[in-house]
């Protein structure tokens, strides 16, 4: 298992390196950040001076080498826009995104699995059909629109929840988070729900499909024949077997939630990493974009690793070998 993990990490290093090359050169091709950042009043000499001060006058290859040297010492460069180290900026925005993604994942599990189970166990009931119809809506409605509707309904019309921003934070167990305050949670609810909607639907459908398939398997029939109670059949024999695809998908989705909750963060003005990424991309803040995507690649690798390890826990038949994964 150790060899497996080491090999995975080596692969990760290679992917991160390739990613940095693609993004670094790619962002450079789009345009010159100075054209957008500089005051229009600046004359040509001032523009040239700024380009030089940001190191953008040197050949792109040289800039990349300079960047690599920095990375070796943990320095990802300074944001063109904020003048602060890119890594610091990203880490600063990370807690807000992590709490949003965690709550949204929790919502997906707590709502998705029970609803999916119900729809799978009692497929002919009207409620089940309603759940499935709802999940189709959850899939197909664009997050952007749903987010605005949630704001209109809960914030503007009903006035129950705040429409925008992150709430008060507090420190608990050494972690500063808005999860620990009432105000924080009330701010968190709408964006988390908006972000979770697709995943709730996804989990409902996966669970339902898994249940429908497994119910006809021999081991379920055997368990029933043994006279086990229905609740034990469902919670032990059925659940264990349908969880594998759900864990895989949720793992990948969690990475997606962390990395690309751009739309939700923008609508709810949530001060997280996704909003930082989109702002940086629009303004060609290359150091932040490159550092961000390198970190995200690492995230995904780690999440996949965790998912693989979870497999072997859930299903003893799965062994952690080099499966060419």
């Amino acid at each position: 298992m150790t060899a497996f993990i080491i090999r995975r990490l080596l692969q990760a290093a290679l992917v991160v390196f390739l990613m940095s090359v693609i993004v670094f050169f790619g962002v450079n091709v789009i345009g010159d950040p100075v054209d957008m950042l500089i005051s229009p009043d600046a004359d040509q000499a001032e523009i040239a001076r700024t380009i030089q001060a940001l190191g953008l006058d040197r050949p792109i290859g040289e800039q990349y080498l300079h960047f690599l040297k920095g990375v070796a010492t943990g320095d990802f460069g300074k944001s063109f826009i904020f003048g602060e180290p890119a890594l610091k900026l990203i880490l600063h925005h990370m807690p807000a995104t992590v709490e949003l993604a965690l709550v949204s994942l929790l919502m997906a599990i707590l709502l998705g699995i029970p609803l999916g189970l119900y729809a799978g166990l009692y497929p002919d009931r009207k409620v089940s059909k309603g759940i499935i119809a709802g999940s189709i809506l959850g899939f197909s409605l664009p997050t952007f629109w749903v987010g605005l509707m949630l704001i209109m309904l809960f914030a503007v019309v009903l006035g129950w929840l705040p429409s925008t921003g992150r709430g008060d934070t507090a420190v608990f167990l050494g972690i500063e988070s808005s999860l620990w305050t009432r105000d924080g949670l009330s701010h968190l609810f709408l964006p988390a729900l908006n972000l979770a909607l697709t995943n709730i639907s996804l989990v409902i459908r996966l669970t339902r499909a898994g249940v429908r398939e497994a119910m006809h398997q021999d081991y379920i029939k055997f368990a029933r024949a043994k006279g086990l109670s229905e609740s034990r059949v469902v919670s032990v024999h059925l659940m264990k077997n349908i969880l594998i695809p759900i864990v895989t998908v949720l793992g990948l989705e969690f990475g997606g939630l962390l990395a690309f909750s751009v739309v939700t963060e923008s609508i709810f003005a949530w001060p997280g990493m996704g909003k930082l990424l989109i702002d940086s991309l629009l303004q060609l803040d290359r150091p932040v974009v490159v550092a961000y995507l390198m970190i995200i690649v690492l995230f995904f690798v780690v999440i996949n690793l965790v998912v693989d390890i979870l497999y072997s826990v859930l299903d003893p038949r799965v062994r952690l070998k080099d499966q060419g994964a």
Binding site: A42, R49, A53, G83, T164
Partner: protein
């Protein structure tokens, strides 16, 4: 009907339930300052934020007219020296006195902040600040410089004791964010909120708000929703599409005002073989945009009323020059060109293009209000008089680089472009110099002259204007230069942007031409 009543009742009870106007104010901004450090980035949102915590020697009022700030008077004492008398008895938030030392060290710091993506060197260069006594400063230049007051009005004064040596990070964490302004720094969470509280010892008129929170809400519909939900009291940059609905809403009031930003078209005056101008059918053609009749025809083919009424939903002002009425140096003779498609066709025929030609208009799609829609409208209007126009819009991150230097040898790439210009200095010389003055890096002129217009007579006139210290004389010269440029159709102005702020009922905002959103501009009715 019942439904609407219910909503009304809910809203009304929500309004009643909330406590009577506390003195706290929350403002939803459309764009976020990139730092608390007032010299880090010369950018509208940063400069607006700085106006709360800091002061300038000369302040620009809502119409960008100059008013005494930390300086009580300023005048040239000889051709190369301006004397500024400073306000006495002003204290920084940490209790230290404001003196000439603060001005001198600010002048050294402002152009030299490390990693600054847009520094204040544009305004400070060529001027040396010299302390004469504690409350007198001389600014010396190497040539007569009439725009001294305008340039000085852009630079924020920081404290000699804590501000001048501080890094941008020390400003952002608050340790160096010590100014003389109407508000004191409380906290800064990037992307989340900036909080300031009233400076009880402010030298000027004290703000009515004890505490102000700025929240960046970049998504326009979300900003409007936040206002409707009562999460913020004021929002900046209300989108034109929502103005009509909000006007009918009883719980919201809107404030509107012309901005200093003109939207205009730049044409390729320079290349006889321009890449995006083609003969009918796509063959090469000698650049028709170099002919005055063609430029006039294009201007006449544009229906500015339609742009203002339809595309901008009435929230814009037709433009005939570079700045709206009321600014220093505008001409009172220039009117927006009348829409006259027949006249345009006749001019084109007279110039030898009875069947027109092919043209591509390039523009940004995320920079100015409704920019892509305006480009499309102009494309259709030109096609109607025979100039078959293709429209290509792109994100500003791509657009501006290509428009400025995308061609060979860093020349402008496009032939016909839609751009905007906001006059930060609040007078006409800034657009005249940058947009119409001959492109000349050594002189610093024409830095945004993406049409490479060049007219020796105009340059000479503007030169004279820029060295004329007498205000009335300079104003007349600038107006004359503007007339010369517009008559030669150096650029084609279409409209001035109008900015809209939204406030909760009971509040109002004094609209500003510089697009700043300032807490001191929010008043109670």
């Amino acid at each position: 009907m019942t439904y609407r009543l219910t909503i009304g009742a809910v809203l009304a009870s929500a309004m009643l339930a909330s406590p009577a106007w506390s003195e706290e104010l929350t403002i939803g901004l459309g764009s976020e300052a990139t730092a608390i450090d007032p010299h880090f980035h010369n950018l509208g949102p940063n400069n607006a934020l700085a106006r709360h915590i800091f002061d300038r020697l000369i302040l620009q009022n809502e119409l960008q007219q100059l008013e005494p700030g930390l300086a009580v008077s300023w005048e040239p004492v000889d051709d190369l020296t301006w004397e500024f008398k400073l306000r006495e008895g002003v204290k920084f938030h940490d209790g230290s006195d404001f003196t000439a030392d603060d001005v001198v060290c600010t002048w050294d710091r402002a152009p030299n902040v490390p990693n600054s993506p847009s520094s204040f060197a544009t305004y400070t260069k060529g001027k040396t600040a010299v302390k004469i006594d504690d409350y007198t400063v001389h600014f010396k230049t190497e040539a007569p410089y009439p725009l001294m007051a305008n340039d000085v009005s852009t630079v924020t004064i920081v404290s000699d004791e804590v501000g001048c040596e501080a890094t941008t990070a020390e400003y952002n964490d608050g340790t160096a964010a010590v100014g003389t302004g109407p508000f004191k720094f409380v906290s800064y969470k990037p992307g989340d909120a900036i909080v300031v509280e009233r400076n009880e010892d402010y030298w000027g008129e004290k703000p009515i708000w004890t505490s102000v929170t700025f929240k960046p809400i970049k998504s326009a519909p979300a900003r409007v929703a936040a206002l409707l939900a009562g999460d913020v009291d004021v929002i900046a940059a209300v989108p034109t599409t929502d103005v009509a609905t909000l006007e009918k809403n009883e719980d919201v009031s809107l404030s509107q005002g012309a901005s200093n930003r003109v939207i205009y078209l730049h044409l390729d005056h320079d290349r006889s073989d321009s890449p995006f101008v083609k003969a009918n059918g796509g063959g090469a053609i000698e650049n028709p945009l170099q002919k005055l009749e063609v430029r006039k025809a294009i201007s006449m083919a544009i229906n500015r009323d339609a742009i203002v009424d339809r595309v901008m939903e009435g929230i814009a002002i037709k433009a005939g020059q570079l700045l709206p009425d009321g600014f220093f140096g505008v001409s009172d003779k220039l009117e927006p060109v009348e829409y006259d498609p027949e006249g345009a066709r006749a001019l084109l025929a007279g110039a030898g293009y009875p069947d027109g030609f092919e043209l591509t208009i390039h523009g940004p799609n995320d920079r100015y209000i409704n920019d892509a829609k305006i480009a499309e409208a102009i494309g259709q209007m030109l096609s109607r008089v025979g100039i078959k126009t293709q429209v290509e819009t792109m994100p500003r991150s791509v657009y501006f680089g290509r428009a400025s230097k995308g061609g060979p040898n860093d020349t402008p790439e496009f032939s016909f472009i839609l751009v905007g210009w906001g006059a930060g200095s609040g007078e006409a010389s800034s657009p005249l110099k940058s947009l119409i003055g001959t492109h000349n890096p050594d002189k610093g002129w024409g830095s945004s002259n993406r049409g490479r217009y060049s007219n020796a007579e105009f340059d000479a006139l503007l030169d004279t204007a820029l060295s004329t210290v007498d205000d009335a004389e300079r104003q007349a010269l600038l107006a004359q230069a503007t007339e010369m440029a517009i008559e030669d159709v150096a650029i084609i102005p279409t409209h001035y942007q109008v900015n809209t702020w939204g406030t909760r009922k009971g509040l109002n905002y004094v609209a500003r031409t510089d697009e700043y959103t300032l807490a001191i501009g929010v008043g109670k009715e």
